[in-house]
């Protein structure tokens, strides 16, 4: 009833190609931003404790959305499958830690972005095999990256400044007189920083994808030989996809350690996490930015809620709930693949299509 394109005329190509051609979509985005920036910081999510909302739901979901965006760029838009996401997040986290120890006075946001650039370089190096191999074979190349990097995080003591624990941990960092990171920082401050970065990165991703580079990725994804024949360079297209995706993943890794967990060890970056991020992309929908949001939110929030409800309402112990949430995740993947192989994003698109005609579909 409210979602209509009737009467919205376009007189320029530019308007046709706008990110949100419908006025309703623009309003929707603004409402979402207002909710994220005003409503949630003030009221939290109704029915849930505020600290829990921030620490266990909002901040991790935003961080994982950045990860999912990164992986979706690689898998959904450029068609290069990767199981090294966990380790690339580790590269982001460890390099951010090193940059912070080498330049202690540098602004933490700059550290995070620099660590994203470092990860981009590492990602490009491990993306080199993709020029020669593809499909399932590429999984092996990225698993090589995953296990090699995990090994390096343990063996190369320089990465964690030779400390005894073998992990990295954040210290208090100030910005404009506010403590923004580290043990004493306020959850709300961290929330705003993560949210702002997420919004900026989403804006960047959507524009890059709609632009020349993004279109070359999609051509490579759809049929690489044909793309090569009509003048897309596989070298630049594939490596730029790896670099861009790793940039996002690196940033999310740095954010995860310094704006959410506070400290991390190798276990936070192992191969099982790579799978979780892959699920976020699949469940959300390959090749969709909206899908990245939905996938990250669903895959992260539902197990957390299941565990919380099982603990507080039914009194099950943590072990059972842990396993139950793993099973649930597996079932969710299979069901979504059967019902709609293109993920939640496609379901959302179908809903929108129906809304246009609702309530008189004929």
């Amino acid at each position: 009833m409210f979602y209509r394109e009737t009467g919205q005329f376009k007189s320029k190509y530019k308007e046709e190609l706008a990110a949100f051609p419908l006025a309703e979509d623009k309003v929707g985005i603004i409402i979402l931003l207002v909710i994220a920036y005003v409503f949630i910081p003030i009221f939290g999510i109704p029915g849930l404790p505020f600290e829990f909302t921030m620490g266990a739901i909002m901040i991790p979901v935003f961080i994982f959305t950045i990860t999912t965006l990164g992986l979706n760029i690689l898998l959904g838009f450029a068609g290069q499958i990767s199981l090294g996401t966990g380790a690339f997040m580790g590269v982001g986290a460890y390099s951010c830690y090193k940059i912070m120890t080498i330049f202690p006075d540098l602004n933490i946001i700059i550290c995070v972005i620099l660590s994203g650039l470092v990860t981009a370089v590492v990602g490009m190096i491990f993306g080199l095999p993709s020029l020669k191999i593809k499909g399932f074979y590429l999984i092996v190349a990225t698993l090589a990256a995953q296990f090699f990097l995990e090994w390096a995080f343990i063996r190369v003591a320089w990465l964690y400044n030779y400390n005894d624990s073998g992990g990295i941990e954040g210290t208090n960092k100030e910005m404009f007189g506010l403590i923004v990171s580290g043990p004493q920082s306020d959850a709300l401050t961290r929330y705003f920083i993560v949210l702002t970065l997420l919004v900026l990165l989403t804006w960047l991703a959507s524009n890059v994808i709609r632009g020349r580079i993004g279109r070359s990725w999609m051509m490579i994804r759809d049929m690489d030989i044909a793309a090569e024949l009509i003048g897309v360079r596989p070298l630049t297209a594939k490596l730029s996809a790896f670099a861009f995706s790793s940039f996002y993943i690196g940033i999310s890794g740095a954010l995860m350690v310094f704006f959410w967990l506070g400290a991390a060890e190798v276990e936070s970056f192992d191969v099982s996490h790579s799978f979780t991020y892959l699920f976020m992309v699949i469940i959300g929908g390959l090749g969709s930015i909206t899908g990245s949001y939905m996938g990250a939110a669903l895959v992260w929030v539902i197990p957390v809620l299941i565990k919380e409800i099982g603990k507080t309402v039914f009194g099950f112990d943590a072990f059972i709930m842990e396993n139950f949430s793993i099973i649930f995740l597996g079932v969710a993947i299979v069901v979504i693949l059967i019902v709609e192989p293109h993920g939640l994003a496609r379901l959302w698109q179908i809903t929108k299509q129906k809304l246009r005609l609702w309530p008189f579909p004929y």
Binding site: Y137, I139, A144, F147, W151, V331, I333, V334
Partner: protein
Amino acid sequence: MEILYAIFIAPFVEMGSYPDLFIQALWDGFVAGTLYGLIALGFVLIFKASGVFNFSQPILVVLAALSLVSFYKMGIPAWISVILVLIMFYVLAWLVERLILRQLVNQDGNILFMSTIGLTFIIIGAAQWIFGGVPNAMIVNELGFPSGSLEWPIFGGGVYFEMIDVSAAVIAVIMIVILAVFFSKTKIGRGLRAVADDHQAALSVGISLNQIWVIVWFVAGIVALVTGIFWGARSDVSFALQIIGFKALPVLIIGGFTSIQGAIIGGLIIGLGEKIFEIYWGPLLGSGVEGWFAYVIALVFLLYRPQGLFGDKLIERV
């Protein structure tokens, strides 16, 4: 200069001066390689017959070993536990076909692959729930496998062959022979190959796809059980076995996705390669290189032979 010496000369000098240790390393690598090959065999069987890249093969290995040990602990005699596990795998194969594969007929290979990742998670959760996540010792002696070790005195030292490793190698060989015969001589085997070649053509001559899938998943389950018993004997039975299972991927790369003998030869290359590298070159990098060296071997192979040693040649058309 010193570093060059340490890389190119010192390891060979060491091999030459302690030949018994070298032979021991070869044997260990050989056994590990056989077992990698067995895991890869499970992948190959399913890929050959249905074109599904079955990511849950490593977890099937864990499930087999774990349920076997758990049944035994419940007081069921060892061999009856084996039969119970086989029945369980038949039911599982049937369920997988009925609930997952049948629903995904005609979907893209990627989607099928991802659905097996989902299956992996379901099995992990269920197995941890039912059997618990505590590492157990494998019931090797109860199954009647010989224990102890043989010593072969040579070059002034000695090489030890664990009896369980010897039996693993023997059983692996027997199983490969049986599978090769099964695939080439029996009616079901011909059906499997027909399905692998072309689903529709196979259907049109009256081969039941669904039945073939159940059979091939069941056979993969049997392979998983054998692998599980022998891996479980080498290290404890726990979910860490799954990480070892991932090593089957580089094996597949080297051997090719569709070749049974390729799986075994690939396994041997990986097993021997990583063992020798770990012992003679590992100390240069700090220990633990076994975790990733297999993937590096596979990468090097990929750059020269993307279809694997025995894989079908890739022909691409636009």
